[in-house]
Amino acid sequence: MSTLTLCFRLNGAEVTREIPTSAVLAELLREEFGCTGVKLACSRAVCGACTVLLDGVPVAACATFAFRAEGAEVTTIEGVAEEDPVRRAFAEHSAFQCGYCTPGMILLAKALLARNPAPTREEIAAWMSSGLCRCTGYQMILEAVEIAARAGASA
């Protein structure tokens, strides 16, 4: 097969699309579903700007074939509520400058806190190091994750 019918849940809603086998998840999410919070930058799974959650696991959507989302729950930044503790912590603590990395950073942080509700500073730094901030705003990003953890973001 070189095309297939893909069914998955996107931010809580069932969706279906006919796609070529080679469709990349980031392009599908942006172009078919308008999820422009999935940022494209390196296209090689290096920078983390395109990070989404696939059944709660952070993946680089720019380097993931869309067919791997079959039957899965895909969460993009559009699926994270404004009152979400991580999102609020990033906003209230100004944990961004240009903002391009922010959706990926927030989703990375959510994945961390879902696994480890009370991470140490070192654990946060090790985990978040898979996201690159070209503005080098790491200090406030790390602090925002600590604030979110204290606010019970894993719940």
Binding site: V24, G48, F65, F67
Partner: protein
């Protein structure tokens, strides 16, 4: 797509060419597709990047539904690691942590949070990228790679192209209870170093070190027999690095620097492993 200096590639956002997708459910079925030319897709964290860098593919065998490729077990004195084991699973596996804690610890430090839960050790090895650390770890350990067609290959001799049409199923490590293993990656990407010592029945220690860089496939260096690694660390490191080929260098890490840094790192690792 534009190739630029040093093997780097300017990223392309353009759509990838379609391919025929196979979704096997058994090792035998997957092996047939791979032998016929399909590219095996394990965790799926690397292949898109490889295509963007110029890899031409016509068929893909998605291994995500193949049963029996993942997991760690110890039987008959041999540790078996399934090729489909993810980095997160491997590092946390109780059998591995008990049998060879140095490898579990090293495995827990490779890759990022976005790769660790989906990337597999089989994909790491078979991707053929020097900067992926599986070949250094398992090559230094003297591990054996077992393929679905029944053939085996020492991990240190793995070359991406030569093995591309075989499906890796297991990694085998004999006598893990006699192995001491340590991995040093603080200088990555300029240099990484692995150390494996085997305890012989009479108390002697034999073993080797492996050294790699971002762009160089590992070189494996035999160590002289040791009785007291801490006391003999400097001499053993000097002997090992005397065997490092003179052309082992890349644009970021020259041969003289690799010898000096490698010697210091290996000596430190020997002292630490003895402690």
């Amino acid at each position: 797509m534009m190739r630029v200096a040093g093997g780097l590639v300017a990223a392309s956002q353009y759509a990838l060419p379609p391919f025929v997708l196979h979704r096997p459910t058994t090792v035998e079925e997957a092996s047939r597709h791979v032998a016929a030319g399909a590219v095996a897709l394990a965790g799926g964290t690397d292949l898109v990047a490889q295509i963007r860098e110029g890899l031409a593919i016509r068929e893909v065998a998605d291994l995500s539904q193949v049963r029996g490729l993942a997991g760690v077990s110890l039987a008959g004195g041999t540790l078996r690691i399934g090729a489909g084991t993810t980095h997160a699973e491997g590092a946390a596996d109780p059998a591995l942590r008990a049998a060879l804690p140095g490898l579990a610890e090293a495995w827990g430090r490779i890759a990022t949070a976005r790769v660790r839960f989906t990337g597999t050790i089989g994909g790491n090895l078979m991707a053929g990228r020097p900067r992926y650390e599986g070949r250094l770890l398992f090559g230094t350990l003297g591990a054996l790679l077992r393929f679905a067609d029944g053939t085996t290959l020492p991990a240190e001799r793995l070359a991406g192209e030569a093995s591309r049409h075989r499906l890796l199923t297991d990694i085998l490590i004999a006598g893990p209870e006699r192995l001491l293993f340590r991995y040093e990656r603080a200088l990555r990407p300029m240099m990484t170093l692995a150390l494996c010592l085997r305890r012989e029945a009479d108390g002697r220690l034999s073993g080797r070190a492996g050294i790699a860089t971002e762009r160089l496939a590992p070189a494996f260096l035999p160590l002289p027999e040791l009785r007291a690694p801490a006391a003999e660390a400097e001499a053993a490191a000097a002997a090992a690095f005397a065997a490092l080929p003179r052309d082992f260098a890349d644009p970021m890490s020259g041969n003289a620097w690799l010898r000096a840094a490698g010697h210091a790192t290996l000596a430190r690792a020997l002292k630490a492993i003895a402690a």
